[in-house]
Structure formats: structure tokens, C-alpha cells
Amino acid sequence: MKIRFWGTRGSLPTAMTADTLKSKMLQVMEQTNGKDLSTPEAREAALDALPFSVKGTYGGASSCVEIDRGEGGFIVCDMGSGLREFGLDAMRRIATEDRQTAYSFFISHVHWDHICGFPFFIPAFNPASELRVHGGHDVEAALLRQQDVPSFPVPLHFMQSKKEFTQTPMDTPISIDDYTVTVRKQHHHGDSFGYRFEIDGKVIVYTTDAEHKLEDEEQLDAHVEFMRDADLVVFDTMYSMADAISIKEDWGHSSNIVAVDLCHRADVKHLVMFHHEPVYDDAMILKNHEETIRYEELLRPGSIALQITCAYDGLEIDL
């Protein structure tokens, strides 16, 4: 099974500027100066040795995460701008890997950054596609509104795929496409919903756009149980701890510190930092990742390390 990250940025799709790219190229030249660059292999090795913030980028597409068992239809969390790339890749896999034209979506909430990719989701124009959309909100109304005139030239009904919208029950495990899915309501403006997926003996939790009130022990305990023993948790780590409980309190997001603490309490194996602050550049996100790893070391309750990955657009994790 693979977890693919098609969009990892929070709040707003964020493009790299020409100045940023030039800065990266200058850093590459400086940091590879004097290295062996005589062959393609040597050049690739020299690049591989550089920090990710220099040789790569975390990307700027907004939330879209796929859980892929490599067969059948597709499972997708959220429809942020990363959905466009996912749609193109899904069509490629349907053409080359005998995959089904069936898509099950799980929507955290209907803020723009989590649905803005849908008008550009090409498979939705295919009458043979079957889309099943699960969410705690009325997602159909949100998509209709998003594509209504004068906001967008193509109305939802012009996308001729079969569409089924379901408001999922809370806190009670349900069976969807061989998965056991548990939905949890989260604290966010207008609410958001986290999803716990259980399949093939693995547990994946997608919990983004959620603010965890540290004074509310009952809710904290419930969220710990929601994430209990997960193999992988995708967690909103948008702000610093100080910001999240001061100037950005009630903005509906969480921090790397709370992510690690809750994962420790829940005996999670692998934390994926997600929903990156749009004003952060790659160097800041990398620093945040490194500091999160260090915090985990400092607070680790036993001898087993919590694996921590910082999501980027295009990341694949084998599970």
C-alpha cells in the first residue's frame, strides 16, 4: 500500500517565485563547488547530498492525499489543488494498470483550499467515472456553489461522471470499499472531520485542519483514541506551538508540538507533518521538520522512536 501526497500546503496554493528558484540554484552552485561533477552519476550524488530545501521543494498544492492499494478504484482525502495532478495520474493508471474508474473521496471540510481542485479534476468529466463523496458537510452544495456563475464557467452538472454524495455518521466505524472508516468531528471554523482508515491490518489517520484545545482533556483523550496504534497519521502542523495558542488561537490549526505529544500518547508509529503554512519557504519547513524530530527525541516516553516525515507534493510512503 502507498500513501501519496498530491497537495500538502495549507490554506492557499502557493507557487515558487523566480527569485526563489534563482536562490536555490545559487545555493546548489555554492554547495557543490569543488565536488566531483564529471559524470551524470556524480552530479546526481552531489545533488542528493544537499538539504531537501535546496535540491527540492515541499511544493505548494493544497490538500490532497491518496491511499492506494494498487488495485481497484481510488481513495482520496480532500480535493485541494493537488487533485488536478492526481486526476491526470489516475487516468494514466486506468489506461496502463487496469484500474477501475471509481473514486471514493473523504472530505475534511469544504473550505476553498480543500475543494478548489475539483473543477480541474478531469475524470469528473468522464461519464464512465463513478464518484462517491463522503463528508460531514453538504459537499455537493459546496461544489455547486464553487462552480456557479459568475465564479466559474463550468457548472457542476456539466461534469458528466456519476456522483453520489454521502454525509457520513460520526464515531461509528463504517465499511467503505473494503476499508473500515471512522469519522471524527474536529474543532475548526465550521467544523472539520478526521478519518481513520483500517485496511489489510494497517491503520491510517487523516486529521487536518483541527485545533486541539489543550484544556479540554475529554476531547484530547478522544482524539488520542481516534489515532490509537495508527501506522501512519497525517496531522495538521501548520503553526508553531506559541502561535497556535496565542495570536493564532481559534484559527483552527495545530502545531508540531501537539502532533508529537498526541502521537506519543496514542502509540502512533509514523507522523506525517502536513498542511504547511503558506508563508513558510522551504528552508523554514525543513527547519520545522528537524526541530520536530528533536522535540520527539527530547519527549520520547520509551525507547521506540516515532518516525516523523514532512510531507511534500509528490511524496510516496510505502506502508
Binding site: L214, E215, E217, L220, S240, M241, A242, D243, I245, S246, S255, N256, I257, V258, D261, R265, E291, T292, R294, Y295, L298, L299
Partner: protein
Amino acid sequence: MQVSTDVRDNGVVVSASGSIDHSSAAAFEEAAVPAVKLAVDAAGLLVVDLSDVDYMSSVGLRVLMLLAKAGKVDTVAVVISGLQPALQEIFQISHFDKIFKIYGSTEEALASGAA
């Protein structure tokens, strides 16, 4: 985790020891928050002495933020003293080093408040 409160000439000192995590943060909050009013009455600053605290998780940091907010309302300066290296790192990672003035010792903190 143990907490004590000491009223000094220049302010009030709350001293904690041990680990402050989800099992002890409530006790820390219960003991520390009333100290803000004591500092108001003493017309001094509130020093949170963490020199005997080996680690602090998010719920402990939240209590410190409560003290900072209460201090802002009551115009009492809330400062930190005596951070061990691990706690210094936690403050830096959480950006709490941008919220609080941090002093090497309680005496240094009290002296700064008197200046």
C-alpha cells in the same frame, strides 16, 4: 511534579520540579495561576523557576501561556528562570522563547524586575 510559591521583595516566585506533561499539567496550573494575583498584590513580577523541571510537553507550555495572558491582563511581568538545556530547546522549538523573557537564575530575574 512539585510546585511551590514564594513571595519575595520584588515579586513572586513559582518553582516547579519534575516533569510537566498530561499527567501533571493540571496540578501545575492549579498551583501556578493564583500566583499572578499574588504578584499583583506584591506589585512585583512573577518568576517561574523551571530549574528543576527536566521536561515539559504541550500541556505544560499551555499553562505558561495562561500565566502570560493573565499577566498581560493584570499588567504583571511573567518571566522564566533557570531553564535546563533540554527545556531551552523545547522553548526554542515551540517559539516560547519569543513569548517570555528568560533569565539564567531567579535572582537575576528578580533583580531585572526591580530595575
